[in-house]
Amino acid sequence: MKICVKFFASAREAVGESDVTVDLHENATANDVLDFFSSRFEAMKQIRPYVRVAVNQSYVLNEHVLNDGDEVAIIPPVSGG
């Protein structure tokens, strides 16, 4: 299934892209998205323990099962305010 992944701040710099569409197996989880990019980008692997994942603009646990067409966002520690 096709998953659109958005990267922000340090995560965007880690993968060098803002938006990447990946093809994942059925029942893939948020964790699988993190695995996918951590295995390809060393910088992503380093920040992985500190990022949260949002699916369709809500935070989810890493075990969250994705659906085709979901918008996944990789959210490093925020610094608004």
Partner: protein
């Protein structure tokens, strides 16, 4: 009112958006960009946001404030893009009959915004740049990791 904007924030406009004839007091928190961070001079600051999700969470904060306190109106405005030192990056205003509720709700709003709303600040120093991280946000990550761990343990039959 909840808004993310690139333009300089007009505090009076935000104040006007929460003042109602029935309210007796307004508490306003204004976050301004500082010229130092971790002992180094900050030359410039810029913010970026995951705008639709940030707005959604800001609307959620507004709703939660109304559920928890007896208040009249809430406005939360965050600026993105370059924010010169001393200018406001965020303004939160809460009007209420009683000032205790305005103060408490405003404080809760900025605490929650700093913990959860997907907005990031990049600090530019003389010798490089860094993505700032709010202490509250790092704590939140740890919390969700703890929750995750329990969930995993449950899945593995360690907890029931």
């Amino acid at each position: 009112m909840v808004r993310i904007q690139e333009e300089k924030i007009n505090v009076q406009e935000i104040l006007d958006s929460v003042i109602v004839p029935e309210a007796g007091g307004v508490d306003v928190f204004i976050g301004t960009t500082r010229n130092h961070s971790q002992g180094k001079n900050v030359l410039a600051l810029s913010y970026e946001a995951y705008v639709p999700m940030a707005l959604e969470l800001m609307r959620g904060i507004e709703k939660e404030l109304h559920q928890r306190w007896n208040i009249h109106k809430v406005s939360i405005v965050h600026r993105i893009g370059d924010v010169p030192v001393t200018e406001a990056s965020v303004v939160i205003a809460v009007s209420a009959d009683h000032r205790a509720e305005a103060f408490a709700a405003c404080r809760y709003a900025i605490d929650t915004l700093k913990k959860d709303v997907p907005i990031w600040k990049k600090e530019h120093f003389e010798n490089g740049e860094i993505w700032a991280e709010n202490a509250e946000s790092k704590f939140a990550v740890n919390q969700s990791r703890i929750i995750k761990t329990s969930a995993e343990e449950k899945k593995n039959g360690l907890l029931d």
